[in-house]
Symmetry: C2
Subunit: 562 residues, 2 copies
């Protein structure tokens, strides 16, 4: 029996577009004698639809679109489509109004509906907000020969349903274990329809986990993932299959739409090896692809084709310009060079070298005279005060205003270029360099920004050499460098990793060999910068804990401040 | 038996401060021969602690603080303290790591722990993210005479636990009904320890609901609520008690800390009438108090004492200035008047009249020359294009920059002054008038802004009369008024109410008599403005559906756009 994976890139809420894509994949599948087509979790509305799910008319539209899709799919092809179902008993039983479901479409009908059983409510996931967990094992039967003899029993799981193998994790995250239930029922194989967001190294984790489960339960698993960027989340695809020995027998492409076919041999009851695309060679390569996809999809799905960004000659804006150029093409990227009195000569030169290397457009807009006009207006009020944060930020906000003026005038999406280390400690200006529709590298720590640029330069300079070797500086006052205010980035980033990702206490970090005063300083900076992060643009999530949807901190709080 | 309610205003995460407050209330209670002291939900860490709960060292600190508090409380007083408990079986059973709990402290011990059973996961609530629901009925026994004879049985519920009376709501929201279980056990009365956020009319709803439950189950209920502003959420207090006939027998003050005592008569098995503070006379009075508290607490809990805001002479900034003056005192409010070429003469006059009425400080900072410097710099690039959104927004962002310069220089918190109607349709400038640490009236629709100002002027003009009668205008181009771009506010606000609060479809709204084209225009504006709202400051929530924590919409989505 041939099974195909439609690794789709949906647009959230654009039901017609998404249904059309499923239809096209179904035609492709039918032409190759595929019996069963898999599409990702919530493939009809895209994942995550978030509060669109609170609109009854949205739910109704999904339902109508599903029926319409069932009508036009080719005969003799069963298709699993991700959809939202109303929980008819919600108000009587006191349950949530919806299910996160998979519909089995065949012969112009919605033949069966399966409900997701394990609903994630950590990090960026809010599924408990909308959905009631399914309580039954999900499977269906299908014959390869179309006459219903010797039907195969196929288990259906939805994303999180397979993320509870307590042998693999060493602990249980949910009470139920859907794959165990399906094995008890005696299914021939299990499909998993996912919308699993990317973070560095996630695919290795997924494969290790499902290899473990397939070996443990002696059962083949076909894993179909969504691809594409949806706001802060990047879905990397990399759908794959493991046979009952736990070997990878198929791997779809990463970071792009794909259509792959695999065959289940009914004699050996196992999956046959098929095309196995390689994983990225390095984490940098993987991260680069993720950021390019995230930027591209956010831009296009928001209806833009061009972007604008400020080029300071520093490494962050240089990297973002390179990502944008790869994502959208050099003709669609505009850089603004906005030097001030405090900009060093090399800043302009480095930015100009970058512009040349990338072949993008740029304008030079010195901000000196605008600065003077602000200074003049505020002169009498600021009289007697020293040059400080107010004056520094004013420059950044003048640049932010100019960037937005270009965005508003010519319809370019503004990209902000701050990295995760800056965002963590608040070394950035709200309404200034934080301005933008998308924060491209706000989940990439500074040390990783350097690593990415070095990787990018592996076959010759894309990022000008001087950008990589000069000390980072905001250039908002004379001879300023980042390390005037912050610990060295190697130290800062490791402390941040321990604080943010590992929830370590000051004591634990100190015991790992870091200076207590430095740790406390960093912690206070992180807490105090919460108000800035609250107003930051969506940032592409590439780690297991990004600022953004999955980071929910109070602002007016005092823990560890006093 | 005397029972006291400590209606406390905690600072999120400031465990020492919060424990101290509980201690002080306990001393007060002991001095009045109170036997049982009630404090709000999570009174030790403040509600909502959000992702602070993900830090193991935070949880440990809470636990240590609870033990310390138990040690110092007066003898012969039982105290119910809101706290967080570790779920010891989480990893074995596949459950969440924590419980939202109430600890019964008595005789230097933590005598009993009760877990919240119904965990809200709608609107602003994320309790499923952190907590496992309790599965047992929560009650304890207590004797009034200290020798354990004739003990009373007291049922303990935590906030949402009492919000599932299916008779009152006409439907069930949760499977369990904790009060029913407690009645079956035969408790003498029920306490409810809450942190229930304010919205207009919420107290009436709470009282109606608990009156219904007390009558239905023939049981007295004592309801203790948190007060104070925590980021976007305002807790109004208004703790109250209903006797077994469903009559209000006690009501604490609204919008301020309070300590009230009530007596349970052991013969009649009922609560004795006590002080009953009046509810606000009008919704405007209530809303005013809420906004004043929200502004005051956000400012103070963030460590500020002074605020700055832009005064355009319009009604929104006038109202916010009045709220700030009430909250912080006239000496702590600074207004900036920043007229441009397009500002009408009356704008300055109206703003100056407001400054005079309120007695606050102000500066006049005309932005014409700064505008000229931007125009000059961009002249060659913008050559041939028409005056448009870019030029309009630039003015707003110049003002935003000046406001932040004042904030950074003098340590004033910047308040943004946009109303909910503007925020809904995006009639506001990101990085311009949206700038601020707090959006004071971003959940107040324009029509309600007018109503509030009229109420405020009931005993003479606070808001200058001309501000109330002139047509609203952004004054970013010659002779501009809001109604050039938007439907009349009476119509706009009703369409928005139906879209945002009632999740009505275009068809439904149209059937209610609104023009189809207008509805579609409004809907598109709302969807397109999502990117602005994503970067807005926290806004004080005063309705059942505010933009902010409880509004989780995708940006790069296409539902109803194409």
């Amino acid at each position: 029996m041939k099974i195909a994976i439609a690794q789709l890139n949906p647009i959230i809420g654009n039901l017609t577009n998404n249904a059309q894509k499923i239809y096209e994949m179904a035609i492709l599948a039918a032409n190759q004698n595929v019996r069963l087509l898999l599409t990702p979790e919530l493939s009809l509305c895209g994942y995550p639809p978030r509060d669109l799910l609170l609109n009854p008319s949205f739910i109704q539209s999904v339902s109508i679109e599903l029926e319409k899709l069932a009508q036009i799919l080719p005969p003799n092809l069963a298709v699993l489509v991700g959809t939202v179902e109303i929980n008819q008993n919600a108000k009587i039983k006191g349950e949530k109004l919806l299910y996160n479901s998979i519909a089995l479409l065949e012969n112009k009908q919605v033949k069966q509906i399966f409900h997701k059983r394990l609903l994630p409510t950590y990090d960026v996931f809010d599924e408990g907000r909308y959905f009631e967990p399914g309580r039954q094992s999900n499977y269906f039967t299908l014959s390869s020969n179309f006459n219903d003899s010797n039907p195969l029993k196929i288990g259906v799981t939805i994303c999180e349903d397979l993320w509870n193998d307590e042998e693999f994790w060493g602990e249980k995250y949910y009470e139920d274990n859907p794959i165990q239930d399906l094995v008890n029922i005696g299914v021939d194989w299990v499909v998993n329809l996912s919308a699993s967001p990317y973070c560095v190294g996630k695919q290795k984790l997924r494969e290790a986990m499902l290899k473990h489960s397939s070996q443990r339960y002696q059962i083949p698993i076909i894993y179909a993932n969504q691809i594409g960027g949806n706001d802060d989340l990047i879905f990397d695809g990399s759908s794959f299959a493991v046979n009952r020995q736990g070997e990878i027998v198929l791997r779809s492409k990463a970071f792009q739409e794909d259509f792959t076919v695999i065959e289940f041999d009914e004699i050996s009851k196992n999956l046959q090896p098929k095309i196995i695309n390689l994983l990225s060679e390095t984490e940098e390569e993987e991260l680069w692809s993720a950021l390019v996809l995230g930027l591209k999809d956010y831009t296009k799905k928001c209806g833009f084709s061009k972007v604008v960004l400020g080029l300071s000659g520093g490494i962050d804006s240089s990297l973002v310009a390179a990502i944008a150029t790869e994502a959208l093409g050099k003709d669609n990227v505009l850089g603004l060079l906005m030097p001030s009195l405090f900009s060093s000569e090399h800043s302009i030169k480095d930015a100009e070298a970058l512009v040349k290397n990338l072949g993008i457009k740029s304008y030079l807009l010195p901000i000196g005279e605008i600065m003077n006009s602000y200074d003049k207006l505020l002169e009498s009020i600021f009289l007697g005060s020293e040059f400080g944060v107010a004056e520094e930020n004013m420059q950044s906000r003048i640049r932010g205003n100019l960037l937005m003026a270009m965005s508003n005038k010519f319809g370019h999406l503004l990209l902000s270029t701050g990295n995760k280390s800056e965002m963590a400690v608040g070394y950035c200006t709200l309404y200034g360099d934080m301005n933008g529709g998308l924060a491209v590298i706000s989940d990439v720590p500074k040390t990783r920004v350097f690593a990415l640029c070095k990787w990018l330069n592996r076959q010759g300079d894309v990022i000008p050499h001087n950008v990589l070797i000069k000390p980072p500086s905001a250039e908002l006052r004379p001879n300023q460098v980042d390390q005037d205010s912050l610990p060295p980035y190697e130290i800062l980033d490791e402390i941040l990793e321990r604080l943010i990702h590992h929830h370590q206490s000051v004591t634990e970090i100190s015991q790992a060999g870091f200076d207590l005063e430095t740790i406390n300083k960093v912690l206070k900076l992180v807490i105090r910068a919460e108000f800035k992060r609250k107003q930051a643009p969506p940032g592409l999530k590439v780690t297991d804990r990004a600022f953004g949807t999955g980071w929910r901190m109070p602002i007016a709080s005092r823990w560890k401040i006093d």
